[in-house]
């Protein structure tokens, strides 16, 4: 070993160290950047009915005092203090999961489509008669159920990581409406999505939770809610009834917005509204108290029925108040449907309507239209309470705000008329606006006492309050929290360090390889110059990617970049192949061989280009141009039969391709036959599953389908692991014969090398077979899990990878290894988008994550979701096992007397380091971008989801690289062990 080469152990050590740095840095950054709870601790008590600033000292004693009060006493205390008589005694909160407000209220002043109007006749009659008032409640991203429920009941916009916890629901510990209701002794009943039970464990006196687990069930899930409804409505022992209907969301997930099931589902919801309205609200039953029905949806849905992102379709959720006895009768239909609010506004509105303190972290503003039946005095009081609460929250974030600017007894009229212009820093503006409003209110009160109040004063007070509320609310929701700077800085530094280590390792590695290569091919010294273009471009791609991450639309439309970049790379490789084509058909054997090779390369590249373009056209993808036609839309229009036949065709093609690849490998036919047989069996199992169960999408949650899917999982899993374990042992080693042959033929110098090189052939064969088994099993699994429309892209991806393998095997030292590995990595990323993924959370395929699960398991469905989403990068990483065997690296091994470890390093170095290195560059760069963009308008809707994707890609790369490294090391050790034994045996015989 020369002094320049670093040992395998050292390499491994550095790699692991870099990994540890990266993981530490990443987790520090994530937990610093995405606050889990950007919240004030504690619960709003009766101090919220006093002006802020003067009770801070007494707070502790007050809460202690409250502890001693019974719920009933507390309720009356609140009533006395709030000065607003509760308008209602009971609340029915009906959550329709995923209902876009557009379906009920229309869009842009237009009433909804005719069929949607007809589907909800009763609701529309309520709206047009002024019995109900509806709002477009804009939900904050991420538009996923749990964060939205939290926002509705607490009024706070949660941290972004709530999405990550969406599958592991945890109790809501912040101050929220339900907690406030509990404190005043309400009895609550919950029917519907069990997320509520997880958010509020032990809060409900009666509940019937349904799981959102069976995504394909659209009927039973709602029947389970409605079956209790009649009973519950007739009882009077509850104050809050939560109904959470999941069916509509499931309909969306299955068939999108325009699903044929949508109309009946809306009709069903309308029936529920009608039933509630007729039985409780319209009958003014005095002993049960007055009831308010609030129909809300947690989020909307895109055209295809997904949600999670921040498009208008997804954030357009509904808030419908039924039973408000509006004095100003809103008979005009349009005015009852046009208003637009924020989803968080629901929390303070309900709190004020029911006379409980507004939750502490609320950033919402009360909805003005809902208080119309109160007196002027009460309305102003409601605004005042909301302002106080927001002022407290602002105060907690801007410590400079308080400082005893106003006394407790009353506000000093130090701002004169109270309508001064507000400018300066945010603190000043907010304080000024608040003082304005408070002063106007005081003067109005004073005038009212003296009997001089005018409508004008009232109106200006309301305007002033609204101005403050709006400004404060916007400011608060924009500024979710302070970022802990040291934590973030440390995280970024650690990631950058690991990135540098990776790059250093790659440079070191390529220098070693390159020197070795130069010794081997000492003839052509100017080769370095000729390879510059594609190598420079592949490095330029990294730069392009890093730069494009800074632009929100480039992040949204990332699929274009990948396709553009890999196509350009292929074209450059095409150019290179043409270069090496000698142009003349010389008779020299060498020329002929070379021409043949470059012809083959040209064909391979053309195939790659064409399949890449088809993959690109399969899903339009992205955010801005999703409506444009693409192959998948076209096929979906053509009907499900066509899709199914395409699915079957691509399954068969995949099996054919697999068999072809298997029998390309001819060294040992017996082993190959076993692998082929296994592969055929599992392939036909998957096809059987497709034929039997995938066409009828409504009953596929039945027992047999699940069982079959489980059998397939087991077969594939056991088969793959079995192959990995057994193949290196079964692979025959013909050491003695070849050894002796070589001994005869070659000099002693070579035969020393041969001893080390010996397991090479067997090593390659095992790697090839195992890599093939990995890839085929992975593709079969995807055929089962992915949406039917995606089966053809998976086949095309597999074909692309095989073609690349063939191309690489023919390219020899023409392309550097790191270039090819990097290209494979890029192909994987392009494939990721070709399968319909994007950088919004909406495109994650939730429905597939429950195939073959018989009971709800967060972990398992999460794993399945990961498998579905990261199909393509993982496939590419698994193909590295095959790549190692395919790439002709013999020219590396010949010159030095290669150490065994050195050999392993040469084999594993690039396929493991290049993905890790590329990913670490992208991760670090994107982390910096996210930091720079933290105040960008789209930080929560575009950049943060992308960051989650980047983090998950990192995890995917870790897993893939680990699998590759572990497999290769295992194969290597087994083969080396066996060859050692054989050598010693043959020596013994000799």
């Amino acid at each position: 070993m020369t002094s320049t080469t670093t040992s395998f152990t050292k390499f491994t050590f550095f790699t692991v160290a870099a990994l540890v740095f990266q993981i530490t840095g990443l987790s520090l950054f994530v937990f610093g950047f995405f606050p889990v709870k950007p919240a004030l601790s504690g619960v709003s008590g009766w101090e919220s009915f006093f002006a802020p600033g003067c009770h801070s000292v007494e707070n502790q004693s007050q809460t202690q005092m409250e502890m001693g009060l019974s719920p009933y006493e507390l309720k009356s205390l609140y009533q006395d203090l709030s000065l607003i008589p509760p308008l209602f005694d009971r609340l029915i909160l009906m959550v329709i999961d995923g209902l876009p407000a557009e379906f009920v209220l229309g869009k842009d002043g237009q009433p909804p489509r005719k069929d949607l109007m007809d589907a909800m006749p009763y609701t529309h009659s309520l709206l047009s008669s002024g019995m109900a008032i509806g709002y477009h409640a804009k939900a904050a991203p991420p538009t996923v159920t749990m964060p939205r429920l939290k926002a509705m009941v607490s009024g706070a916009i949660g941290g972004f990581l709530d999405v990550a916890f969406n599958f592991n629901t945890q109790a809501l510990l912040d101050d929220n409406l339900l907690g406030q209701f509990l404190r005043i002794g309400w009895k609550m009943v919950m029917l519907g999505d069990e997320t509520w039970l997880k958010l509020f464990p032990g809060l409900f006196v009666r509940h019937d939770g349904v799981s959102s687990f069976f995504v394909k069930d659209t009927v039973q899930v709602d029947k389970n809610v409605s079956r209790h409804l009649e009973n519950e409505l007739s009882r009077d022992d509850w104050n809050l009834l939560v109904l959470h209907y999941l069916g509509l969301d499931h309909v969306g997930h299955i068939g999108g917005r325009s699903s044929s099931l949508m109309g009946p589902k809306l009709l069903e919801m309308d029936e529920v509204v009608k039933m509630i309205h007729l039985s409780t609200i319209q009958t003014h039953d005095n002993d049960r108290g007055r009831t308010l029905l609030v129909v809300v949806s947690d989020h909307g849905m895109t055209e295809s029925g997904n949600h999670g992102g921040s498009s208008y379709e997804e954030t357009d959720s509904l808030a419908l108040f039924i039973g408000l006895k509006n004095q100003v009768s809103i008979s005009h239909y349009a005015s009852a449907t046009h208003n637009s609010i924020l989803q968080v506004d629901i929390a303070p509105t309900l709190a004020l309507l029911y006379g409980v303190p507004i939750p502490k972290n609320n950033v919402g503003v009360l909805i003005s239209g809902t208080f119309d039946c109160l007196t002027d005095h009460q309305q102003l009081r409601a605004l005042e309470l909301n302002s106080w609460q927001l002022y407290r929250l602002v105060e907690a974030q801007l410590p400079g705000l308080s400082c005893g600017d106003f006394s407790c007894s009353g506000f000093i009229d130090d701002l004169g008329s109270g309508s001064g212009e507000c400018s300066g820093s945010m603190e000043k503006i907010l304080r000024c606006l608040f003082m304005n409003a408070a002063n106007l209110h005081n003067s109005w009160k004073y005038k009212k006492e003296t009997g001089f109040e005018s409508r004008e004063d009232y109106r200006s007070t309301v305007t002033a309050y609204h101005e403050f509320l709006k400004t404060a609310s916007e400011w608060l929701s924009r500024r979710v929290t302070d970022k802990p700077v040291p934590l973030l800085a440390f995280g970024v530094v650690a990631m950058a360090l690991s990135c540098l280590i990776f790059l250093g390792l790659i440079t070191c590695m390529s220098r070693e390889v390159y020197t070795g290569e130069k010794q081997h091919l000492s003839g052509s010294s100017n080769s370095k110059i000729r390879w510059c273009l594609d190598e420079a471009f592949i490095l330029g791609v990294v730069l392009i990617l890093v730069m494009s991450m800074g632009s929100s639309s480039m992040v949204e439309e990332e699929q274009y970049i990948w396709n553009f970049v890999i196509s350009t790379l292929y074209l450059l490789l095409l150019r290179k192949a043409v270069q090496s084509h000698s142009g003349r058909s010389g008779s020299a054997l060498f020329l002929k061989a070379q021409n043949k090779r470059s012809d083959f390369q040209l064909c391979a590249i053309f195939l790659l280009l064409i399949s890449g373009r088809i993959l690109r056209g399969w899903h339009q993808g992205g955010v801005n141009w999703t409506h444009l036609p693409d192959i998948s839309k076209w096929l979906e229009q053509a009907g499900s039969n066509l899709i199914r036949s395409i699915q079957l065709t691509s399954g068969l093609l995949m099996m054919g391709l697999g068999l072809f690849a298997l029998f390309l490998f001819v060294t040992n036919t017996k082993l190959v036959r076993v692998v082929a047989l296994f592969f055929l069996i599992s392939g036909f199992l998957v096809l059987w599953h497709i034929m039997e169960y995938q066409d009828n999408e409504f009953v596929s949650s039945d027992y047999h389908a699940t069982l079959l899917a489980q059998i397939i999982y087991a077969t594939l899993g056991v088969g793959t692991i079995g192959f990995v374990v057994a193949l290196p042992w079964l692979m025959p080693i013909q050491i003695s014969s070849t050894y002796s042959k070589h001994k005869i033929n070659s000099s002693t110098l070579v035969s020393v090398d041969i001893q080390y090189k010996f397991p090479l052939l067997e090593f390659r064969d095992s790697s090839y077979l195992i890599g093939l088994a990995y890839m085929l099993c992975w593709c079969l699994l995807q055929l089962l899990l992915q949406q039917p429309i995606n089966s053809m892209p998976i086949f095309l991806l597999l074909m692309q990878i095989f073609t690349s393998m063939l191309y690489y095997s023919s390219s020899g030292p023409q392309n550097k290894e790191w270039l090819e590995v990097a290209l494979l990595y890029y192909v994987g990323m392009a494939g990721h988008f070709a399968l319909g993924n994007s950088n919004t959370l909406a495109t994650i395929d939730v429905a597939g994550a429950f195939i073959g699960l018989s009971s709800h398991s967060t972990l398992l469905s999460g794993i399945l979701m990961f498998i579905i989403t990261y199909t393509s990068p993982m496939l590419v990483l698994l193909s590295m096992v095959m790549y190692i065997s395919v790439k002709d690296t013999s020219y590396l091994a010949i010159p030095q007397s290669v150490d065994l470890e050195q050999f392993l390093k040469m084999m594993l170095g690039f396929p493991c380091l290049v993905p890790l290195g590329l990913n670490s560059i992208l991760l670090t760069a994107y982390t910096v971008v996210l930091l720079l963009m933290r105040n960008h308008l789209f930080v929560w809707s575009v950049f943060s989801p992308k960051y989650l994707y980047v983090c998950t890609t990192t995890v995917c790369i870790y897993i893939g690289v680990f699998v590759v490294a572990a497999t290769e090391i295992y194969i290597y050790m087994v083969i080396a062990f066996r060859s050692k034994i054989q050598v010693s045996i043959s020596n013994g015989i000799l």
Partner: protein
């Protein structure tokens, strides 16, 4: 690793009869080239186009572009944004006409007269003594080759654009066709009218990017400029600025034209530097 251009003479001196090339010129070229190439090379470099000629040729091409744009703007009152297909058609027609003009007059006057030397005459060294009539035929033929190369190159360009992500669809078809014809007249028409079907020249210019003298520089640099310009021109397309010029193929066309114009200036610069060096050499 392997250097075909470096190996070229050796292989040909090996004495193999060229087996391909249907036309007589092709054969002739091969044979003659192998024997004369080296001898004429030294002479070649000293007798390539002067900077003034390069300038006027580029000027004519630029004028062709400018006239097309002027006509589009003033006569038809369209531009690339409002009617991409028509404008593109206007541009490529005008450009190919001016290229043909260049071939007819300049190549006739400078290239194919016996005293002058360029790739064209170099390839037909044996014809140098043939009368001007047959050189007229040659020039006409090279015009014909250029016209023939227009659709063929357009096909190549269209395929390349589609592979790189250009939209496929009936409504995009005329735009794609016209755009690729424009690109073809930027890239392939000049090369085809000069090199014909000589694959080694094509390979040297487009695969290796190793032009030898000013005429080849004049062909190679603008072609690559247009290509690179078009490549960069595609980058604004995915941005969500919602400007009309972001559509296919408008900004790509802008990029290509810009690249072409810049490359013409660069090529002129090359010619100046080259010429200056030659003068020095000659002295």
């Amino acid at each position: 690793m392997l250097e075909p251009s470096g190996r070229e003479p050796a292989v040909q001196n090996h004495g193999t009869e060229p087996t391909h090339g249907g036309r007589d010129e092709g054969k002739e070229k091969k044979q003659k080239k192998s024997s004369i190439a080296k001898a004429s090379n030294a002479e070649n470099s000293s007798q390539s186009l002067s900077a003034l000629q390069v300038f006027s040729i580029h000027m004519i091409c630029g004028l062709g572009l400018a006239i097309a744009l002027w006509m589009a703007h003033n006569l038809y009152s369209i531009n690339v944004i409002s009617d991409p297909s028509c404008t593109l058609r206007l541009i490529w027609v005008s450009l190919s006409l001016s290229l043909d003009f260049v071939v007819l007059f300049f190549l006739y006057e400078f290239v194919c007269s016996p005293s002058s030397d360029c790739r064209e005459s170099n390839r037909h060294t044996s014809l140098q003594l043939v009368s001007t009539q047959s050189s007229t035929v040659l020039v006409l033929e090279s015009c014909g080759r250029g016209i023939l190369a227009l659709p063929v190159g357009a096909l190549v360009n269209a395929l390349g654009a589609i592979v790189l992500g250009a939209p496929v669809g009936i409504e995009y078809l005329p735009k794609t066709i016209n755009w690729s014809l424009l690109m073809s007249s930027f890239m392939f028409v000049p090369a085809a009218s000069v090199f014909g079907s000589s694959s080694s020249h094509w390979q040297r210019i487009f695969a290796h990017t190793k032009p030898n003298e000013s005429l080849e520089y004049m062909i190679c640099i603008p072609a690559h400029g247009a290509l690179i310009g078009a490549w960069f021109g595609a980058w604004p397309m995915p941005l969500d600025w919602e400007r009309p010029w972001q559509d296919w193929p408008i900004c790509v066309t802008y990029g290509a034209i810009t690249g072409y114009l810049v490359a013409m200036v660069v090529s002129l610069g090359f010619a100046l530097v080259h010429g200056g060096r030659q003068h020095l050499k000659r002295d």
